[in-house]
């Protein structure tokens, strides 16, 4: 007997037109693409070596040679900014990926199993959700120690709960649907049903929300780096660059301003993207 075909969510066509027509979506997408390109081709684009110190030219304002100025060690701000994009994007992406995998799994399982287990999990999720992201990340990162790996883990943990929530809701409604009943009648085990039948139908919801949460993840990463809990120096990250800028704020405004703008633009782009995607799914918010 042939296996039941999976039902793909019927919306993709209309969904695409809904957010393709939103101008802000394109702005966000273009911005994000630009940042990704900069990050990927960093070694080719950056005019100087981000780690190269040159005390002679320390704390120089923006000039022809150092377009965005130099920091306290004479390093080129622009190059450090470009390489910093790599860290921010990498951390943001990986953290969200991990959070998505773990969170969605928890959400689907809880939704599918239901009952007491579901209630327990939801209670725990609510507790996690109500706790400020930054503080949670701060505590975890503080305890684990500052490193790239720990940073990703800390941020991932803070973003698990939202994913679980978003995965659970459609699971609950999907599990009542006929094709799931059919699958159970055919003797499919729960893992197969969850993985093959339920998962593809709600994956679009989850992915849509991930861009919004990636913005949150990058914000958290910058904040944690700023506090000193991020990737240790001399690796350039936007957050730690701002910290240096903050400490030398009277010596040079450019030290803090440019990385700030970089973070702002990245987070804004992701927010624009995520908002447009989410609005496409929820028309009421567009005012219609």
């Amino acid at each position: 007997m042939a296996a039941t075909a999976t039902l793909v969510s019927p919306r993709p066509g209309t969904l695409w037109t809904a957010f393709a027509s939103n101008r802000l979506f394109w702005v966000g997408l273009v911005l994000l693409a630009a940042i990704i390109i900069v990050a990927v081709f960093a070694p080719l684009i950056a005019p100087h070596d981000p780690l190269e110190q040159n005390i002679v030219v320390r704390l120089e304002p923006p000039s022809a040679e150092f377009l965005l100025g130099t920091d306290g060690y004479g390093r080129d701000v622009l190059s450090r900014l470009i390489f910093g994009a790599r860290i921010s994007l990498l951390v943001g992406f990986l953290a969200i990926l991990v959070a998505m995998i773990i969170g969605a799994t928890i959400g689907i399982v809880a939704g599918y199993v239901g009952g007491r287990f579901d209630q327990l999990v939801m209670g725990l999720l609510d507790v996690m959700l109500s706790f400020p992201t930054l503080l949670l990340g701060l505590m975890i990162a503080a305890m684990l120690g500052a490193s790239l790996q720990n940073l990703i883990i800390a941020i991932a943990i803070t973003e698990i709960a939202p994913f679980a929530r978003v995965a659970r809701a459609p699971t609950i409604s999907l599990k009542q649907r006929d094709f799931v009943e059919a699958g159970r009648a055919l003797g499919f085990g729960p893992v197969r049903i969850m993985g093959v039948h339920i998962l593809p139908n709600m994956i679009s919801d989850v992915i849509v929300m991930s861009s919004l949460w990636m913005a949150s993840a990058i914000r958290t990463e910058a904040s944690l780096s700023f506090i000193g809990l991020g990737v240790p120096p001399p690796t350039p990250t936007w957050g730690s660059m701002i910290r240096e800028g903050f400490e030398n704020i009277l010596d040079g405004w450019w030290l803090a301003v440019f990385p700030s703008l970089a973070i702002l633009v990245t987070v804004l782009a992701l927010n624009l993207l995520g908002d447009a995607l989410r609005d496409a799914i929820d028309p009421k918010l567009r005012g219609e």
């Binding site: 930054l134 684990l144 903050f246 704020i249 973070i263 987070v267 005012g287």
Partner: protein, 312 residues
């Protein structure tokens, strides 16, 4: 309503325990031996052992857990390793500043945010609407420390309107000047959030049938918006703003660092740098309790404001 309140209060208790347990686990996640991390490589074996005993680290885990819970419930949050004062004392020293900042931020956020949110919903797709949405989107994209630094640079350093470092004057004007930029920083971000939430909520309400009924009755636009729409729209706004409180705490930590204000934020930073794990643990517990209290209060407020819950 009473039943709802009791249920809600009861719910807070297991939540508290879960959080305390999580904090307990978290603090003991510190890799390596806590004592040597605290005292450093140069510490003698004797002092390491003394510290371990003092911190109770030589006891089996479940005993540690029980005494931890017992301590917390009896109000003993431990002693700061760096200052020697009790955690409670440290907190009380800086609490007024944090409360002052938080209240100012909430005021700015709500007082500015509500009208813009309402205007955006009422004038759907007008320029007010687009402007509000854009501004609030940008506002929400700034991490709190970024906006803080930019504000600092522009208003304090370049323009000199506000002090760069917190002055210690005690006159009312001094305090206001010290408070202004940090409160504004937090307030703007909160305003962005309030505008969004208000707009969404009001848009939902304005489309409801009872608004049409009221209009059919001859209710004028002002009263329609304020008495009929807002009164219903506030319900989800209150809830969501209460949930925002957690983020507000996080942002205030960053803001205090930037503007060099005394408060819980600076305390955390100091504890982190000094590896004062007891203080850190105590602070986490305090934050957890704050969050639970605010969430519970928000839920109770929701019960008061929505007659459907009040009169079940």
């Amino acid at each position: 309503m009473i039943r709802y309140a009791i249920k809600r209060l009861l719910l807070a208790i297991p939540t508290l325990f879960v959080m305390l347990t999580a904090i307990f686990v978290l603090v003991r996640l510190v890799p390596g031996d806590a004592a040597s991390v605290i005292l450093g490589d140069q510490a003698t074996e004797a002092s390491l052992r003394a510290l371990r005993t003092r911190l109770g680290l030589d006891q089996p885990l479940h005993v540690q857990y029980l005494s931890f819970i017992g301590d917390v419930l009896s109000g003993n949050l431990g002693q700061s390793l760096s200052s020697g004062r009790s955690v409670a004392q440290e907190v009380l020293l800086v609490l007024p500043y944090t409360i002052e900042l938080t209240l100012a931020a909430i005021t700015i956020g709500v007082v500015l945010g509500l009208p813009f949110g309402i205007a955006a919903a009422v004038g759907r797709n007008s320029w007010v609407d687009y402007a509000s949405r854009l501004v609030s989107l940008v506002g929400l994209s700034f991490p709190a420390f970024v906006s803080g630094i930019l504000l600092l640079i522009v208003f304090a350093i370049q323009l000199g309107w506000f002090p760069v470092l917190n002055t210690s004057g005690s006159g009312a004007l001094e305090r206001l000047r010290n408070l202004a930029l940090p409160a504004f920083n937090l307030g703007i971000i909160m305003m962005a959030y309030v505008v969004r939430v208000t707009r969404a909520s009001m848009l939902g309400v304005l489309g409801e049938d009872y608004i049409r009924t009221a209009r059919a009755k001859g209710v004028r636009p002002t009263r329609l918006i304020l008495r009929h729409a807002l009164r219903n729209g506030l319900i989800p706004i209150v809830t969501v703003v209460g949930l925002y409180f957690g983020t507000l705490i996080g942002n205030s930590v960053l803001t205090e660092i930037i503007f060099n204000r005394p408060g819980l934020g600076k305390l955390i930073l100091g504890a982190l740098n000094a590896r004062d794990y007891t203080l850190l643990q105590g602070l986490m517990i305090i934050f957890a309790i704050c969050v639970i209290v605010v969430n519970t209060l928000t839920d109770l407020a929701y019960g008061l404001v929505d007659p459907r819950v009040k009169y079940k």
